[in-house]
Symmetry: C2
Subunit: 328 residues, 2 copies
Amino acid sequence: MKVREIGEQGLLKRLQSFCVPGMLGDDAAVLATPPGEQLIVTTDMLVDGVHFSDRTTPPDAAGWRAVAANLSDLAAMGATPLGITVGLSLTGETEVAWVEQLYTGMRECLQRYDSGILGGDIVRSPLKAISITALGSAPLERIIRRNAAQPGDAIVVTGVHGSSRAGLELLLHPEKGENLTESDRHSLIQAHQRPQPRLDILPLLWDILPSQSAIAGMDSSDGLADAIIQICQASNTGASIDRNLIPASPALTQLVPPPQALQWALYGGEDFELVLCLPPQVAQHFVQRLPSATLIGKITPETEISLVDPQKKYPDEPLSLNRGFQHF
Amino acid sequence: MKVREIGEQGLLKRLQSFCVPGMLGDDAAVLATPPGEQLIVTTDMLVDGVHFSDRTTPPDAAGWRAVAANLSDLAAMGATPLGITVGLSLTGETEVAWVEQLYTGMRECLQRYDSGILGGDIVRSPLKAISITALGSAPLERIIRRNAAQPGDAIVVTGVHGSSRAGLELLLHPEKGENLTESDRHSLIQAHQRPQPRLDILPLLWDILPSQSAIAGMDSSDGLADAIIQICQASNTGASIDRNLIPASPALTQLVPPPQALQWALYGGEDFELVLCLPPQVAQHFVQRLPSATLIGKITPETEISLVDPQKKYPDEPLSLNRGFQHF
């Protein structure tokens, strides 16, 4: 059954069950924000064939990833999700089942973080596209910003990098995974199709952090190198990153040789981990309490951003913005 | 100069001046909501060739209309705007000037209502599309909803209908406007390209309305008939609309004969007026204070929704949802 056969009203009726009850049926959604907290808002647009594709992401995975990307932006600001709105453009030939699977994936990801779909808009188009706006809230003093890094801060990542890029490679070229175990193959593909926004680390961070500390951070959705560069540029600092400390999953190092794994970890993107700049003692505490987290370097007063090798096997090299994902 | 020549970073730099200062540069925007008020959120997606076109809407008009549609949804809920986010998909071949004119139109409309652009996302796509999410706020007891209409309520529209559809006709077939004065032609085209969301009527409404009254309403973006039907269906009521009272502009009645003018007024859409269901005395007060407003009928206990003629020149006829704008 195709979208044009049931029309807009028919489609909306079917999608109602995926949304927060009582939200649809008016011109806009109504929600309460926690008293005294700031509203945090982020928008992502995803286009068929550019940001998702039936070849590598079945519709439920496309839905999960679209939501995860937005929730990751909230996590990067230190915010707790309130809900999302969904703008969806569809061709009349789109299968209704495709749309329902997309919403199933969106709902699964949202439910894991106690959130839901508040409303949206569905329109006809020659091309499928998804635009999600995520709303969250945070106390003003806990908002994480890019421009708050201080020289001497330790740079911590909340998890491994490069796995999403490796998962994409396995989806595009399954033969490359022939030497992997089924479990390794699955873990890389899951990293690409079902990334986990790191909202889970926020309570731990607030638990460790002294109450007046402003910390810097962002997510690594456009690549780990991009995140480090954006933070440094916004904070007018540099950074020194130890190339031996950048964490990759065992499955990734099984799949490709170390230089390739490092490239994917730095420039592959879409790992949706957080990159945080923390006072050294806080950072030590944080990596002790969060086993997936790793200290990879430090913020420096000069504005150079270098990948260094304390063992001096490799020369220092600057991190580059250009190898990351470029939108045009 | 084309978008692909300056890239994403170059484009973002140019668009920064169109946005609320200090909002860009993080993963999400931060804003304060008025204490004690509810957050109101609405999303609209607009696709090149479906919802806007360089043939009938230059980019500044497309930007204005996209914002106006969203602010109209806020007005329909009784909400005051806090700001918008913009998701924009562009081809690499899009002229940078086109994008800047789009943002100029968006900003002009927002500034008229003391609002601004909070953030967004710009992505590459084979097709131009705009997704706007508007945020507003309102005290809980003043939120206007579709499901609150009561039998006996007077149905009031805040302005003329059919002009946007007429303006579109003049843009597609300029020769049809040959008998109009320049000022009439201009007013119809403006109604299509620069519609005014009726946020202006809210202070008047709160001034007249007793404090505990819940009122029903929505905007007429999908057509006046559609708005009346949606309100009646949500409220489980009917309506009786006097066909002789539906207001059309003098320019519209100059352009087409009365039956055509009535069709456009009922089903043309995109007039972005408000359709309000008010206790009769409040309605009388409202139309006295707001010269553009007209009382066109009343909410009835039976679920029929009829267009009637007290002069009995025309038989009663049911209003139809199917003649309105269908999205698939």
